[in-house]
């Protein structure tokens, strides 16, 4: 198990300053704090506080404003990260007001860093920020009283001394801001946590349920034009020419122009822009090969059968193990391209003038995107400002700033403030998809033991990252090898919630069930037996903890009543480690009118300390249902480079009646927390497939399940 220790130099990210209007702010730069080995790109000492990506503001009346450092895409960090600060600051959550590093029209230089956005990375620096501020406030009170700071205590933002005197944070905040930043602050013992571990509601819930403007699509500016963009209909096509006479004749259309291989339509409303785009007559030509799904299938099968692999991990000698095996099990698993389908389609605002480049919108990578735009427009990065809005979903799609770059390019040509909005059809057809991937897995069995394991991946464009080859069952099987191969396509692909593991977990956890059936052993016991081999390993590459994986498995067996349910319920099991979190899931399936229906999923997770159980359960519930939904229905095919799904009438997303109840259990411990946005998703599809096998006798090896076999879903 790798150490997660981080060498954090507090002096590099903590600064305080008295506010002109009263109160104190304490700033920290999470981006740099998270990456101790990365040299800061900017000289922190020369920044003002608006340059920091998070800070605390304490007003004279004791009210605390905590600026949430990271983009909010629905994963709850706008709530949970400030909780970490508030905990160590020792204030009542009721007195805390959380603000996203929001729009500040006066400070165009504001550069917000993305960096790692998880609780795992924020755990230490955010608590240290709170603890440091608290210590300074205590030091100020102690100086005022002429007592030793060690004799003072704090509760809910009120400092007390031994004589019983009290001072609120607001009363000492101005003095505190003038003090030196202490170097050695003590963090709380987890047993003393008052906010961490409590159910805290989403800080934006009031705005969400009343329809306040929060999202990128809601951003408006006086004089702003709405831009609709026509892009090549097929991957591999280029623009030859276009006729915009009809589009331009429409009332409300302000301009139509080409940029690159795209055509922008600018209008006075979204509707006019979208309609006028349909009036464009464009001619396209083939530039690179127009690819189809059947081509990809053949290419990926050929890769799996070929010898162009790169080896990610090799233990022992698999060839020898397979040669000496009593029997060999080999299976191939297949998954399609998937669009992200964030419910808020891609959009961005840009106002490019001679003086500045102003960008506003939903983006997971604000700093990187601002830099790319500066480069694209040949502008100094100092001229570029980018503000994050709340995001109507991300799932990886908003890591890529293509839509923000489009907005900047269009505004640069039009010299007007504009908002680019993808229609749903644009969003689905111009995606950066989860690539199609196929896995081939073989296991060697000798003397009733698994002696060899060979995982081969064939993927479009890019392969699993190296760490994944050190996930379970790495270290558990003597002869073990992971090989990867890929084909470079002109179809754009990228990260999709739990990249690679979202389908690899399905393949491997389905395979282990088949392996147990072949070996005629208990399915869960097979996994537990393998985990015993990893305990006490000296292999530092192993990413997971066998003890923690074993614990979630045992807990899932108990909580799901594994093997003890009524005879009409069929259960399927899966356990997986990814994103530093250990998860086990059990799916309960019943047959209704001859069709398997998932009724319940029991999910047990070890993510260390659960910062906000209310938000954490929401992530797990959603992750499990998202995993099931996409495994059941998700499928994007291509014909001659053209995506064959265009909108939700021919791309099926999971809906209420298709969703089971998700029961969530966390292992209680005091280990530093890890992320929850992704790890519940990967094992869900395998648990369901294994339950469907139990219910129907049919093994599904290909997603989407709905197309797997007419015998199952009719």
């Amino acid at each position: 198990m790798k150490s997660q220790k981080k060498n954090i130099d507090r002096r590099s990210f903590l600064r305080t300053s008295a506010l002109a209007g009263g109160g104190m702010i304490i700033g920290f730069n999470l981006f740099n704090a998270c990456k101790p080995k990365v040299k800061p790109a900017i000289d922190i000492s020369k920044l003002n506080f608006n340059d920091f990506n998070g800070f605390i503001k304490i007003a004279d009346n004791g009210m605390v404003t905590i600026f949430a450092p990271n983009p909010e895409i629905g994963q709850g960090v706008k709530t949970s990260m400030p909780m970490l600060i508030a905990e160590e600051l020792d204030v009542s959550w009721d007195n805390v007001h959380v603000v996203q590093g929001g729009l500040d029209m006066d400070v165009f230089q504001r550069q917000v860093a993305g960096g790692s956005q998880s609780i795992r990375h924020g755990w230490e620096p955010l608590r240290q920020t709170g603890a440091t501020a608290k210590q300074m406030l205590v030091n100020a009170a102690a100086a005022k009283w002429g007592v030793d700071a060690k004799e003072c205590s704090v509760e809910n933002g009120v400092i007390s001394n031994k004589k019983g005197e009290k001072l609120g944070y607001g009363e000492v905040v101005l003095d505190a801001a003038k003090l030196e930043v202490p170097k050695d602050v003590k963090l709380k013992n987890p047993k003393d946590f008052k906010i961490i571990g409590q159910d805290v509601q989403n800080v934006d819930v009031d705005e969400i349920i009343t329809g306040k403007s929060l999202f990128g699509i809601d951003f408006k500016r006086e004089g702003m034009l709405y831009a609709s963009v026509m892009r090549p209909p097929a991957f591999g096509q280029k623009l030859v020419s276009f006729d915009d006479a009809e589009a331009k004749s429409k009332e409300g259309v302000v301009d139509v122009f080409q940029f690159g291989d795209k055509i922008a339509v600018l209008a006075t409303s979204t509707w006019i822009a979208m309609q006028a785009k349909k009036n464009l007559k464009a001619t396209w030509k083939e530039d690179t090969t127009l690819e189809s799904t059947e081509d990809h299938d053949k290419i990926l099968f050929d890769l799996l059968a070929g010898n162009t692999f790169e080896t990610l991990r090799k233990d022992g000698d698999i060839n020898k193990a397979f040669k000496e095996a009593d029997s060999v099990l080999e299976r191939t698993y297949e998954s399609p391209f998937l669009p992200h389908n964030c419910l808020e389609p891609m959009n961005f605002f840009a106002d490019v003038t001679d003086k500045k480049v102003e960008l506003v919108g939903p983006i997971q990578t604000p700093a990187g995107t601002a830099n790319r735009i500066a480069k694209e427009l040949e502008r100094d990065i100092k001229d570029v400002s980018l503000e994050m809005t709340r995001m109507g979903g991300g799932f990886g799609r908003r890591l890529y700033g293509d839509f923000a770059i489009e907005a900047a390019l269009i505004s640069n040509i039009a010299k007007k403030p504009i908002q680019v909005l993808f229609s749903r059809e644009d969003d689905m057809a111009d995606g950066i998809y989860k690539p199609a991937i196929k896995y081939n897995i073989s296991a060697a069995i000798k003397d009733s033991k698994v002696t060899g394991y060979h995982l081969k991946e064939a993927a479009i464009n890019s392969n699993m990252y190296g760490l994944i080859s050190n996930f379970f069952p790495a270290g558990a099987i003597e002869n073990y090898q992971v090989d990867i191969a890929n084909y470079k396509s002109n179809i754009t692909t990228g990260a999709w919630r739990a990249p690679y593991t979202n389908f690899l977990a399905f393949a491997e956890q389905s395979f282990f069930d088949e392996l147990a059936e072949t070996m005629d052993v208990d399915k869960i016991q097979l996994r537990l037996d393998l985990l015993q081999n990893v305990k006490g390993t000296t292999d530092e590459r192993i990413e997971y903890s066998p003890e923690r994986l074993e614990a979630v498995i045992n807990e899932a067996v108990e909580k799901s009543n594994w093997g003890k349910v009524d005879k009409n319920t069929y259960q399927g099991f899966a356990a997986y480690y990814c994103h530093n979190t250990h998860v086990a899931e059990v799916a309960d399936v019943v047959m209704e009118a001859g069709v398997p229906v998932v009724k319940k999923v029991t999910c047990v997770l070890d993510c260390g300390i659960v910062v906000n159980p209310l938000g954490a359960r929401n992530q797990v519930e959603g992750g499990v249902l998202d995993g099931i939904g996409h495994a059941m229905y998700g499928n994007l095919e291509f014909k001659q480079g053209v995506p064959q799904s265009t909108n939700f009438h021919n791309y099926r997303l999971v809906r209420m009646k298709e969703t089971p109840k998700v029961e969530v259990h966390f292992i209680k411990n005091e280990i530093a927390p890890t992320g929850l946005g992704e790890p519940a998703l990967p094992p869900a599809s395998a648990a369901v497939a294994n339950a469907i096998k139990a219910a129907t006798g049919i093994r599904i090896t290909k997603q989407p399940f709905i197309n797997a076999s007419e015998k199952i879903f009719g």
Binding site: I73, G74, Q75, G76, D199, Q201, N202, D204, V205, D206, I208, I209, T210, G211, K212, S213, L214, F215, I217, D218, K220, E251, G252, S269, T270, W271, I272, M274, Q275, C342, L343, E344, P345, R390, M391, G392, G393, G394, F395, R424, E425, L614, N618, Q619, E621, G622, L625, D626, G629, N647, F648, H649, L653, V654, R655, M656, K657, T659, K661, V662
Partner: protein, 153 residues
């Protein structure tokens, strides 16, 4: 372009747009009522759900010319202070993840509970099946509708 008179959240508006303009875009681009969301434009996802004379409708597929002389209610209009029982239930259950679909979900739920104040679980699941939540907060949506219904008992 043509002139229209609209009743939205008990206020009267004069609008000049082309007659095929969906109410969704009138609300968002012309009246600055941004709570109603665009998701698909073809009435499939429900993010744009509003009430037309109390009935839930998909505002993305409803041209302005078809709704004059009708009363429109949007998420901004279902309560003065965000305290409609459905909103309160949404808050207590802490339903939202990204939050983008939730206005549409709430509009579907409020219209449904008007018609069926004491629904059972199957009826809730039937009614809410029409709205997509990409974050899949379905367990909580179901719970929140059931919770809101208890205010009717």
């Amino acid at each position: 372009m043509a002139k229209f008179k609209l009743q939205v959240n008990n206020k009267s508006y004069d609008i000049e747009v082309s007659e095929d303009t969906p109410i969704l875009w009138v609300l968002r681009d012309h009246l600055n009522l941004l709570g109603t969301k665009y998701g698909c434009g073809i009435g499939q996802c429900g993010a744009c759900t509003i009430h037309l004379n109390g009935e839930p409708v998909r505002s993305c597929s409803l041209p302005i010319s078809s709704v004059v002389d009708n009363s429109i209610t949007t998420i901004e209009g279902i309560s003065e202070a965000g305290d409609h029982p459905v909103q309160l239930a949404w808050k207590e259950i802490d339903v939202p993840q990204c939050g983008y679909c939730q206005a549409g979900q709430i509009m579907t739920a409020t219209a449904f509970l008007e018609k069926n104040p004491k629904p059972n679980s199957d009826e809730i699941r039937d009614a809410m099946h029409s709205n997509i939540c990409r974050c899949a907060s379905y367990n909580r949506i179901e719970k929140a509708v059931a919770k809101a219904a208890t205010a009717n008992s």
